[in-house]
């Protein structure tokens, strides 16, 4: 129990001290994860909506593939990106391996299927009435699609928070393609692994604490955003 208390104390101390390396690692974690989340949203939300709304031959197969990719093992994602970016790989000429860009690439591979799959599910769960109501009130196809996405936004926010949870906590893929290089590609999760291996358990717990705090703040912001667009409390009331 003492080790946890020590870890928490050290975490507070590290944050208080504004240790430059910890700050750099924290900012890099944030940069990589948020970039991956934004890119996953940019690709995943429209893809999920299209998958749910368009008449696509073999839709079930595509959905099945997306759902499978939602459980893609991070190490496998890392390996794929590694093979793509390695010197002899198809994208080797861009020299991205062991850079934050490679880490973003790997994380997008993990997060985009989650955003896509959960967005598709959220849209597919809506009744036909959403489109019919919008259309009979004179909405164009684009406006009706926007109304559908608006109705599905709780599900889409859930997709984004899930995807963020996946990328911020991820270590296997980023370690493979990032290389855990100090002052360059080391992120919080890698530091936890490193400190644990060196027996610095309280430091590892401290970094974990920073990671959790960061995740808490980001999720709070995402939920704030949801609350702003959703004035009314839609929670089921159980009495």
């Amino acid at each position: 129990m003492n080790i946890f208390v020590e870890g928490i104390k050290e975490g507070v101390y590290l944050i208080w001290q504004m240790d430059p390396e910890i700050i750099q690692i924290t900012l890099l974690s944030l940069q990589v994860s948020l970039t991956a989340l934004v890119l996953s949203a940019v690709f995943g939300i429209p893809a999920g909506a299209a998958l749910a709304l368009k008449r696509i031959p073999g839709k079930r197969i595509y959905l099945n593939i997306i759902y499978t990719l939602m459980g893609l093992p991070p190490v496998l994602a890392g390996l794929l990106v590694y093979l793509l970016l390695t010197y002899r790989g198809p994208l080797g000429q861009f020299e991205l391996l062991f850079t934050p860009s490679a880490m973003v690439f790997a994380q997008v591979l993990l997060a985009a299927p989650i955003v896509c799959g959960l967005t598709a599910r959220a849209v597919m769960a809506l009744p036909q009435d959403v489109y019919d109501t919008a259309a009979t009130l004179g909405a164009s196809r684009r406006q009706a699609a926007a109304a559908i996405m608006r109705e599905a936004r709780i599900g889409i926010v859930a997709a984004l928070t899930t995807a963020f949870g996946r990328v911020i906590a991820e270590v296997g893929a980023v370690m493979l393609v990032g290389g855990n290089i100090r002052w360059s590609t080391r992120v919080l999760t890698m530091s936890i692994v490193l400190e644990t291996r060196m027996g610095n358990f309280s430091t590892a717990i401290a970094i974990g604490l920073i990671l959790l705090t960061l995740s808490f703040i980001i999720n709070l912001l995402i939920l704030k955003l949801e609350k702003r667009t959703l004035r009314y409390d839609n929670t089921i009331q159980i009495t």
Binding site: D132, A134, T136, L137, G138, R141, Q143, L230, R231
Partner: protein, 245 residues
Amino acid sequence: MTTQFKLHNIIKRYGSRTVLDIDQLALPEGRIYTIMGPNGSGKSTLLRIMALLLINDEGELEVLGEKVSWEKEQLLHLRRQMSMVTQTAFMFQGSVDYNVAYGLKVRKMNSRLIRERVNEMLEMAGMSAYREADARTLSGGERQKAALARAMAVNPRVLFLDEPTSNIDMASAAEIEKYIRTINKEQGTTIILVTHNLFQARRLADEVIFIYDGRIIERGSAESIFDDPRDQRTLAFLHGDAVMQ
């Protein structure tokens, strides 16, 4: 009187089952039409085809003087002259105000005009006090009135009503019927109403169209259909008998 809807040999199938088979139907503007028939007879299918929400498999459809090609530009142009209220009266997440303003916003109307129009519609529907209320917490009757205000805000030439009072109490239904009559008389809006309620059909309809097994078997004034039906199946329906194949 201009004919707003012309249907010629309209057929709709679900798989191998033909659910609608209309030889001819022409509906002049400005009247209240009631489509009646037993469950599964094709009433709602007919309504959805006329509202351009469902594509017919065969036949020709003419809406508001235009032969329907189902091209998206034409669909939008025609749909913007009609609106609909269904049995469930789906409400978008948000306030009553948001819902009533929706059709005006998609037409990119000036926000001041939207505000005025929403006020006017809510007042007409007796829903002014609910303007800021969450649309999904309204009671059945309030929801239907909000849906009617929303549908009428866009000033449609045709209003489709699919069982608009089947889930609400008699007092609310009476208010809605009054509102429907006002819309028709004062604004000349054509009303096409699907209902199971014989009394409501009799009270509201200028003309009744009776559908059985996807086909129109009788059409006429409310008096003639209710007092002197020519088809045995209509008679059986009016007497509440089970209409069997």
